[in-house]
């Protein structure tokens, strides 16, 4: 059992949860993730470690409330418990110091991009962050991202924050204006990461992506999270989740991520738990 120390909503559908998890906090590095199981009936769901406090013995995750487990997690109060928490899993991101980096986050991906940007910032890198959201009311972590970046550009799909653009447009504009990046890190929906890679390839800028396939165990024993990288099968949970973006077969990843979308939708309709319940 793992205790929830703190919980707050970052917007209507994104929740930040701080867990009491000293063993994980002691080891966690940027780029790593945890797997949680909310209750006895629950699934094992992976979430990136968005922050950790080694002294307090806590870790922070940020989740979008999209299904059974994330909704039930969001409905828990501070001081309550979830059944299981395991981590840190995956390989830590390999980060270099003293370089110029563009960190691109898409939606919830910003929760994963932020700890990487912070780590790079702390390692003396010059960090520009481009964060994309569907609309103004979905923006998360603006102050946090601002604090660790030299430049923060927030784009919205509908222009409701005054900057209607795709993250790729913003990145392209910076590069065309002569900004020289040593590295691009892109984290968000696979379709966004795919288009960032197609763009950066034109300029030959090394691009790292953090993949989000379906996972069960997260320790390399099932291959549910397998992705094709450079023509070879890799397990994202142990070989990743970070990979060279040019090598990733994004179309395959997108197809595999839809494998159970029918079940999830049906379950949401069936699930009486959330009918008429305002989880916020």
């Amino acid at each position: 059992m793992t205790r929830i120390v703190k919980k707050r909503f970052l917007n209507d559908s994104i929740v930040e949860v701080v867990f009491d998890a000293p063993d994980i906090a002691k080891k966690a590095m940027p780029g790593q993730f945890i797997i949680f199981r909310v209750d006895e009936e629950g699934e094992r769901i992976p979430l990136t470690i968005a922050g950790y406090d080694r002294e307090m013995g806590t870790i922070t995750v940020i989740a979008q409330t999209v299904g059974y487990s994330t909704k039930k997690l969001a409905a828990k109060e501070e001081g309550e418990y979830i059944s299981d928490l395991v981590g840190p899993l995956g390989r830590p991101s390999e980060l270099e110091s003293n370089i110029k980096v563009a960190v691109i986050g898409g939606g919830l991906g910003c929760a994963i991009a932020y700890p990487q940007a912070k780590a790079l910032h702390d390692m003396n890198c010059e960090v520009d962050i481009i964060a994309g959201f569907r609309s103004n009311d979905l923006i998360i972590l603006e102050d946090e991202m601002k604090a660790v970046s030299d430049k923060l550009i927030i784009c919205t799909d509908d222009g409701s924050n005054g900057n209607k653009a795709l993250v790729t447009d913003a990145l392209k504009a910076l590069i065309e204006n002569g900004v020289k990046y040593d590295l691009v890190i892109a984290i968000g929906p696979p379709i966004m990461m795919k288009f960032v890679c197609l763009l950066t390839k034109q300029y030959n800028i090394k691009t790292i992506v953090s993949l989000n396939p379906i996972m069960i165990d997260g320790t390399g024993m099932c291959g549910g999270c397998r992705v094709t990288v450079g023509g070879k099968i890799k397990f994202a949970c142990v070989d990743g989740p970070d990979f060279d973006g040019y090598e990733v077969d994004f179309d395959e990843l997108m197809r595999r991520n839809r494998a159970y979308s029918g079940d999830e939708k049906k379950r949401d309709e069936d699930c009486k738990l959330f009918q008429g319940v305002d989880i916020k």
Partner: protein, 462 residues
């Protein structure tokens, strides 16, 4: 009239009925049946059956106690050398172990030792009082066990008996290893595994779930935390894929993923949330117990057609005889001497068929088995929507890649000194599938038991 040359039959669920539920297939002996069967034992002096058991259960002794109606005493006799008798009685391949050596087997059927072991363990569990929880003395030496599968549990149980303070580290949220995620409910009910593990905990074994060695803690850190010896029993859990076209299509599973979703996450039960593919036609690739388990699970999940695709003939199948028979009774279709060449998908990236080729057996290979070779112009297509790949597993690289100086061989198995469980690292021992590659439950338990004796000897000398 009782035919003394035959085993006393054991009641089983009807094949058609059972292929729709996950309830246990074999129902176990009654008291009378058990006493009748145990009386078939000739109480031989040279006890060949015992030599066939990897943990040397005192077979004639416990069978005699059953004939006398002393069922709890019989279970205690078994437990002297076997920490998980209700499990072993159910899943051991007895035909190649104890029962394979039984003298009765020469002129008829051997004594049903497995069924009787199971009977005694189940009877004792149902009729004896729960024991008070023991804890190791405060000054007891600490030993860490990595993995809560059969090897780890057996090692931990033995060490606790010898007075050590034992902690088992398990990566999953439930302990039992392959007993909980791999072997299905209809062969080994999870309540039985839970009961056996609770027995070990009552004897002082502490189990820490959600602890991944190589990530949450490193082997070297266990020594810093005061553990004086480490036993690695982390198994062979990394699935092999075949490297053929279409393996990333939606609907292609490793057997580990398929079985983990079904057994550990209970995807077959609607009150649990983990999903599994609703299949009409399923092909399972492989001929071992894992393949049989996956195929029989697929049938129970409602698939109409379930195929086993195996590249050799039935004679070479490594699966237990009884499981092959059960699979056939339940309507699994065997495509023998047949090998998949590619998986075929539709425009949405979903599996729709598998292209196979027929095989014939050529000359024996290094393993002594006749090597299958492709028949010319024999390719055919099988329409399927789900494929489960059960062509073997190897040890997970997490521990070897994070533990310096721990020697492994080219298959990724931990190397131990000949005839021992000692690894290349001081005070680090290993046993079970992580050393041998995928093998049997009882061999892993035997290795765990041997290792406990070696650890005890080493720590006493310290």
């Amino acid at each position: 009239m009782i035919d003394k040359t035959k085993k006393t039959p054991m009641a089983q669920l009807d094949p058609v009925e059972r292929s729709k539920t996950f309830g246990e297939v074999a129902l176990g002996y009654t008291k009378e049946e058990a006493m009748q069967e145990a009386a078939r034992c000739l109480q031989c002096k040279n006890r060949t059956c015992v030599s066939g058991c990897p943990v040397m259960v005192q077979i004639p002794e416990f069978l005699k106690l059953i004939t006398e109606g002393k069922f709890i005493e019989a279970a205690d006799k078994i437990k002297e050398t076997n920490s998980l008798p209700a499990v072993c009685g159910r899943v051991c391949p007895q035909e190649t172990q104890c029962e394979g050596k039984c003298v009765r087997g020469i002129k008829g059927e051997s004594v049903a030792i497995g069924r009787l072991e199971r009977f005694a363990a189940d009877y004792a569990a149902a009729h004896s009082k729960p024991t008070e929880k023991k804890t190791a003395p405060a000054n007891a030496k600490k030993v860490a066990v990595v993995g809560s599968g059969p090897a780890g549990l057996s090692c931990a149980g033995e060490l606790a008996k010898r007075g050590y303070s034992v902690t088992v580290f398990e990566a999953f949220h439930k302990s039992g290893g392959v007993l909980v995620y791999g072997i299905p409910e209809f062969r080994l009910p999870k309540e039985i595994v839970k009961r056996e593990i609770a027995g070990l905990e009552a004897n002082g074994v502490e189990i820490r779930t959600n602890a991944v060695i190589g990530r949450t803690f490193l082997v070297d850190e266990l020594f810093e935390d005061g553990y004086e010896a480490v036993f690695i029993g982390s198994g062979a859990g990394l699935p092999n894929f075949m490297g053929i076209e279409g393996e990333a299509l939606v609907g292609v599973y490793s057997a580990n993923e398929y079985l983990t979703r079904v057994n550990l996450m209970k995807a077959y039960d609607n009150s649990y949330v983990t999903p599994i593919r609703k299949s009409k036609s399923v092909a399972v690739i492989g001929g071992g117990n894992v393949a049989m388990d996956a195929a029989r699970c697929a049938k129970r999940l409602g698939a109409e057609n379930v195929y086993i695709i195996y590249r050799r003939s039935e004679e070479e199948m490594p699966a237990r005889r009884e499981e092959v028979e059960h699979a056939k009774e339940e309507g699994i279709i065997f495509k023998l001497l047949c090998n998949p060449n590619r998986f075929v998908g539709n425009e949405k990236g979903e599996l729709i068929a598998v292209d196979c080729v027929e095989m014939e057996l050529g000359e024996p290979d290094a393993s002594g088995r006749r090597r299958p070779v492709e028949k010319a112009d024999s390719e055919f297509r099988l329409d399927i929507d789900t494929a489960v790949i059960a062509v073997g597993t190897t040890p997970n690289p997490l521990i070897r890649s994070t533990t310096e100086g721990l020697d492994t061989n080219k298959r990724g198995c931990i190397v131990v000194a000949e005839g021992t469980t000692k690894t290349s690292r001081e005070n680090v021992f290993a046993g079970g599938d992580v050393v041998t590659g995928a093998a049997t439950v009882i061999l892993a338990m035997g290795a765990g038991r041997d290792s406990a004796a070696e650890i005890d000897e080493m720590l006493k000398a310290k």
